[in-house]
Amino acid sequence: MSSKIKSLKYNGKWDFSPSIESLENLSIQKEYQLFINGKFQKPLAKKYFPSINPTNEQQLSSIAKAESDDVDLAVNSARAAFNGQWSEISAKERAKYIYRIARIIQEKSKELAIVETLDGGKPIRESRDIDIPLAAAHFFYYAGWADKLNYAFPNRTPKPLGVVGQIIPWNFPLMMAAWKIAPALATGNTVVLKPAESTSITALLLAEIIKEAELPPGVVNIITGDGSTGNLIVNHPDINKIAFTGSTDVGKSIMKSISGTNKRSTMELGGKAANIIFEDAPLDQAVEGIINGIYFNQGHVCCAGSRLFIQESVYELVLRKLKDRMQSLVVGNPLDKNTDIGAVNSKQQLATIHKYIDVGVKEGADIYQLNCELPNSGYWCPPTLFTNVSQSHSIAKEEIFGPVLAIQTFRTTQEVIDKANNTPYGLSAGVWTDKGSKAFNLAAKLKAGVIWANTYNKFDPTSPFGGYKESGHGREGGLHGLNPYLNLE
């Protein structure tokens, strides 16, 4: 390929005008309380913390901070509900409550999507088309299991565990709440859930929906707070199970805290997924898969394809196609319907990403970043990639959780399998090849809980999700997702 051929230009001749989602019918409360025992109530110590819009660093709302007494109240309500109404009604009727939640989410989907974008920074197109519909779908799917548990586990009569404590992250706030609450309720448990500190609002809107659906008081309690609130839940003696999605480090400390107790657990932790492009892959579509894998959701995805492996024979070609494709990515105001990459969720996360970018440069990898205008305020990171990365570089080993891709090459199948598996993580992986038998071989050999062949970042309520090794244990979604919430002995 001649290097004299000019790269194609994608911007400057016909650019998108702003297409901002209207905030007309929206109202975010100035202050949100804790949702305990079917009511919104003030935190006993009357402490609040701000929720910031990462696009403009403005405060959106004040969120209640649950402390020890509040957590006790929530757990006690959940226990009372479990011992009372929630266990007394038939599974059939339980299902109907969960169906109601799904339907109401669908009715309020626009509002939820906008709030999700304001609070978390993700593009409105993503909240609207992925986050909210998947959240509704999760509730709908698990509602259908409530009265069918006897078919799920041969020779067992499943029983709920009791009160489950759930702690969720900030990257898919409402969707994560759905992933946790839906199976817990379907299996007959009651819930105490803590949303992430920087993204509490949609969880609280969900609380309003739960109230509207007339769920018996105490069945779902949503208590906002920070890491200390999370600790209180983890250590509470009357919680039967902890479900946590978040960083591997915090996951490890939770496991330490509950060791020696009878508490059950599921952990859905970090990842450093290998996304593997073979020479016989449909390359343009594979490039789209690379983009989806690492730049979708600003790279704040535990299963992000953050390590790209390109078979050497097509390395230059794929790199050229990738850089060309990146030129059409729009970075900016997440409320703009054309934005592909929104704001980084928080100041801390941006600092972390910047730190890794510096490390990458220092360790000798070559950096390429999309040349785009970034807004003056807010937290932003343009899509970034590093080439000439080796297996031992920090950026190839540690989870960055941002739109930063580390690119390596490989020659043979065996070589890439070894490199892909050479990590303490094992959440997901991607394989791109036109040859079915090769795809299945890779699927068999890669040590990850989710393998995407010729696609990436696809989620469905029926498809089990979870990791190997330090990416966690337990599965969410599908029939397998019932298991962690049931006693099958």
């Binding site: 059939k92 169906y99 779908a137 799917y141 078919y151 065996q414 299945f440 071989n441 029926t462």
Partner: protein, 294 residues
């Protein structure tokens, strides 16, 4: 002030999402205490033929919908039915049912639809399989819908019976042609109205009324019907149907074995009866590990 004259309802049949009269123009009368309560279409085999045609045309896109989509549509049927409860209760009472039993029957029908609405995306996880064959192949078995199913609905417990005949059949992607209860046909048409309001594509459900003796054998003989779900009390007619179904080896499910009024009816096994298992093989490459032994 003069008394308000009621507008009487015309009961038509339900084919391809529309409500035509029977092409034969015939009718039979439902009477209560010797007073006519309705003129019901006495459908002909041509109506049946049209219905099967419509069901066949609808099969491809209905079975290609995602299981989630079908679940939502079924749930919508329940939502719509809940809204029309009073109409159903009135019709059941008109046909001679007692008031409490009518309420029970409609509640059970709605709840049963909700029960089955949860199954489409759960059948294969439970009954499908990945088979660990001895050769290096990825081998999996999935259950698929059969095609067009002919239904002869129960004579008594007309509403719950019809719902129980139709819903387990269509949830997996089959389409159907149902012959309603001959003596208690009114709810069948109201059910058709609910279905046509529920985003169910045209042709997925077709409901005709008429003489069971006349119509059922045509359903049994039809070469483009893949299966039958029948609840027939008359032994002679039932045996005749089994016999004629052998023409093209239809799968015949005798619904008499199931107790419709009982909640034990609610199980995935009735769904399975209207599905086929397909097994696929695909090689899994095994690669050589090279050793550098220079």
């Amino acid at each position: 002030m003069s008394k308000r004259i009621k507008v009487l309802k015309t009961y038509k049949i339900f084919i391809d999402g529309k409500f035509p009269r029977t092409e034969s123009g015939r009718y039979y009368q439902l009477k209560k205490d010797n007073i006519s309560i309705a003129n019901v279409c006495l459908s002909s085999r041509k109506d049946l033929r049209n219905a099967v045609l419509s069901a066949r045309n609808a099969f491809e896109s209905w079975s290609n919908k995602s299981a989630y989509n079908r679940s939502q549509i079924l749930y919508r049927i329940a939502e719509m039915m809940e809204g029309k409860k009073t109409q159903f209760i009135e019709e059941l009472i008109l046909q001679g049912e007692d008031s409490n039993k009518s309420i029970l029957e409609i509640d059970q029908s709605i709840d049963r639809i909700i029960y089955f609405a949860g199954w489409p995306d759960k059948i294969n996880p439970i009954f499908g399989s990945v088979n660990p064959v001895a050769s290096s192949h990825f081998n999996f078995t999935i259950l698929e819908p059969m095609g067009v199913v002919g239904i002869v609905a129960p004579e008594k417990i007309s509403l719950l019976g019809l719902v129980s005949s139709i819903i387990p059949v269509i949830l997996s992607g089959n389409t159907c042609v149902a012959i309603a209860s001959e003596k208690l046909p009114l709810c069948a048409i109201s059910l058709a109205e609910v279905i046509s309001n529920s985003d169910v594509p045209n042709g997925v459900v077709n409901i005709i009324t008429g003489s069971k003796d006349e119509l059922a054998p045509h359903l049994a003989q039809h070469m483009d019907v893949n299966a039958l779900g029948i609840k027939i009390d008359n032994k002679e007619l039932k045996n005749k149907m089994f016999f004629q179904a052998s023409n093209n080896l239809k799968r015949v499910v005798d619904v008499s074995k199931y107790k419709i009024e009982d909640s034990s009816f609610e199980s995935p096994y009735i769904i399975k009866k209207f599905m086929e298992a397909k097994t696929t093989w695909h090689p899994i490459e095994k690669d050589f590990t090279s050793t550098n032994n220079y």
